[in-house]
Amino acid sequence: MTIQEIQEEIVDEFSMFDDWMQRYEYMIELGKSLPLIAEQYKTDDNLIKGCQSKVWVHAELDGDKLVFTADSDAIITKGIIAILIRAFSNQKPQDIIDADTHFIDEIGLKEHLSPTRANGLVSMIKQLKLYAVAYQTQLK
């Protein structure tokens, strides 16, 4: 599936929820099921620094596709990462660079998009895209 298709699928899933509680409960479930980053990659280098919760992201190439693994010490943050990884992992770096992230608004997580929100989505998305840019250069 393309990033666009996966995003639409996520939007569909979230549209089934009536209120914030169900959305957050789902995110917490996603967080619990997130494929964890291998312990060896939970290093300071892979840490997205912020004041609230810790987030580690690791990226590696599988053929021409970029695979992300991640972890956080906060479960809601983990849920957010799980959603991002579902959308962006196993995709070509150029597609990740080009992807828009409008779906975040549509699934009612806009409040996490504020650039000033410590360790919010914005810095995570930026980090994923930075990895994509780095690996795109490597692929060339």
Binding site: I28, Q52, I75, I76, T77, A118
Partner: protein
């Protein structure tokens, strides 16, 4: 259970923001240690200033400038009276506690020598650590830390051992923002004076709950921010004993702080203007005075008593939640409850309770050394003010329970 003589519902009507809804729920504001809310009386003062007599002070001969100058100086006198300060020129208007601390740290650059020692407590806010580290870098002085115990109390025997004739400055908060501990500042001040050291107390967290008598404390410097005590942001006070303020060089150059200027030499203005370069936060200063009037009209004894009731009730209720641990269990504490639930990150709790309209702080509260001490990433901090209610405590407890159910 409720013993307070305060009419909390009437008090709440003074605070327009408390009528707000957040995420469809009535706001439960429990982040008072970060900033307090502003009563209508203070808002009116701010509006009145801009509508009627906005002008620059201490220089114009026109009526508006005179009125603004008078109002600003009246505010300084209100601050002087509130903190029982001997002279109004010992009240330096600053942009807040951080600014006040930096003013002192900067001034001590010329008073310290290589090998001199500065003592700071282990429970300081970042803003209280960094200026001293910078001062040490400039002067070769050494920073030493007064340790604390697991309850979040300073270990006073260690403090007394650290003091020596090398000690030139002791720095400590009156109340810890992260733990709520009320520190024994009188003992700290008296002991420091015996070895000839100056003492600066950060009163930012204390000033909303305790009315300190600065002359009785015999403290050398005391710093507060207006926004923690029902005033606006961007204004605060540094109290300094006259002898110390005369010793310290000016902090910033600019207008207002000079007596005479030629290209060869400038002579500085007298206190307090020597430390008040440029146009100050005039409206903020006047509103600071109005905030003190407001709080004094309620009365600090009544405020302290009621807040104790709130904190006691909240502590009891929160502790009924299994796995909940409170950090900072000092015998003397005020208005702050820092806690975690085993197995849950504080950020997650904060996110869920925000959805329920409850404002708490999560994170390290700019006191990372304390979090390192307890080996935790941070805490959830509920901090109370006299306008909070027992019902709000119940909502907090319910909210935390709900968050726990969702997250575990």
């Amino acid at each position: 259970m409720i013993e307070t003589t305060l009419d909390i519902q009437a008090i709440r009507k003074d605070f327009p923001i408390l009528k707000r809804e957040v995420n469809g729920q009535p706001l439960v504001y429990l982040d008072n240690a970060a900033t307090s809310q502003t009563p209508q009386q203070v808002i009116d003062t701010i509006v009145d200033y801009y509508q009627r007599y906005n002008a620059n002070i201490h220089r114009g001969v026109h009526t508006l400038s005179q009125e603004a100058t008078d109002a600003y100086e009246v505010a300084r006198q209100k601050i002087q009276r509130h903190f029982n300060i001997a002279h109004s020129h010992e009240v330096i208007m600053t942009s807040g506690t951080t600014d006040s601390i930096n003013l002192v740290a900067n001034g001590f650059t010329s008073l310290l020598n290589d090998g001199d020692e500065i003592l700071v407590s282990a429970m300081e806010h970042h803003s209280n650590i960094v200026p001293w580290q910078m001062l040490c870098e400039r002067t070769g002085a050494v920073l030493k830390v007064i340790p604390m115990n697991l309850e979040g109390e300073l270990i006073m025997e260690e403090y007394h051992k650290l003091l020596s004739n090398k000690t030139k400055l002791v720095f400590c908060n009156h109340v810890s923002n992260a733990l709520g501990t009320i520190n024994p500042i009188k003992e700290i001040i008296d002991a420091a004076h015996k070895v000839g050291s100056a003492v600066l107390i950060d009163g930012a967290q204390a000033a909303a709950h305790i009315k300190p008598d600065l002359q009785a404390l015999d403290v050398d410097f005391y710093a507060v921010s207006a926004h923690k005590m029902c005033g606006p942001t961007g204004v605060g006070m540094l109290y300094g004993k006259e002898e110390w303020l005369k010793k310290l060089p000016p902090y910033q150059g600019g207008g207002e702080m000079i007596a005479e200027v030629t290209f060869e030499k400038t002579t500085y203005a007298d206190l307090p203007h020597k430390f008040e370069a440029g146009t100050p936060n005039i409206c903020g200063g006047i509103a600071f005075g109005a905030a003190l009037d407001y709080m004094n009209s309620i009365g600090f004894d009544a405020i302290a008593q009621y807040e104790d009731e709130l904190v006691q009730y909240a502590t009891e209720q929160l502790l009924t939640i299994e796995g909940l641990k409170i950090y900072g269990t000092a015998a003397h504490k005020t208005s702050v409850i820092s806690f975690n639930i085993e197995g849950i990150h504080p950020y997650d709790i904060g996110t869920i309770v925000d959805k329920l309209g409850i404002a708490v702080r999560t994170g390290h509260h700019c006191a990372q050394p304390i979090m390192d001490f307890y080996k935790i990433p941070g805490t959830v901090r509920a901090s109370f003010s006299f306008y909070n209610t027992m019902e709000e405590v119940d909502k907090l407890v319910e909210g935390v329970k709900r968050a726990k159910d969702m997250l575990l």
